[in-house]
Symmetry: C2
């Protein structure tokens, strides 16, 4: 069974967290996990290639944002919400509050 | 005289802002401008090559974080604080609150 490694939240650099959030798909995964709670990869992948998703989940794990655990053959992803709130106060609220510019246009019209 | 272009804050994508903050030097520039107010490039460059700094300031401008104006031969950089607070509430506070992991170790010891 695959084991994933996760950094201690205190060793995560702010620049690494911002890098993880600099990709629209990864930002979307973080938002979805924040809103809906733990989810398996299938629920988050939206038919994208497995290698693409593996890369994105690795970046998210290395930045301390996501914890992946295995349950049988399933890989469950959880946002490290409480730890993130302690180390980067306001980060999750900011991610949930921010909108793509196209969404702003829709709201204004 | 060089003229700089700056995007409307509403067209800036969240992922672009996070990308701009994903480099430790750019993060440091944003923190310094937030704490000390407008500064010229010399005050922020710390003896780094001019081409390196030009690149970083361009990324910061394109992400809507910094406005550069010219006054005579000086290039003054200003954090777009109020606009950023409206578009990305809590972002500046988060940037000022976050610390490198080495600083956490220092604080703990």
């Amino acid at each position: 069974m695959e084991r994933y490694s996760h950094p201690s939240i205190d060793t995560v650099e702010p620049s690494a967290v911002f890098h993880a959030l600099s990709d629209p798909l990864r930002l979307d995964i973080v938002r979805t996990l924040a809103r809906r709670g733990p989810l398996n990869c299938a629920a988050l992948s939206c038919d994208r290639p497995r290698s693409t998703m593996s890369h994105h989940f690795r970046v998210l794990r290395e930045a301390g944002l996501v914890r992946t655990t295995t349950q049988g053959t399933e890989h469950i992803n959880t946002l490290r919400k409480d730890e993130l709130e302690r180390r980067f106060p306001g980060l999750i609220a900011l991610v949930l509050d921010t909108h793509a510019s196209s969404e702003l246009t829709q709201k204004a019209s």
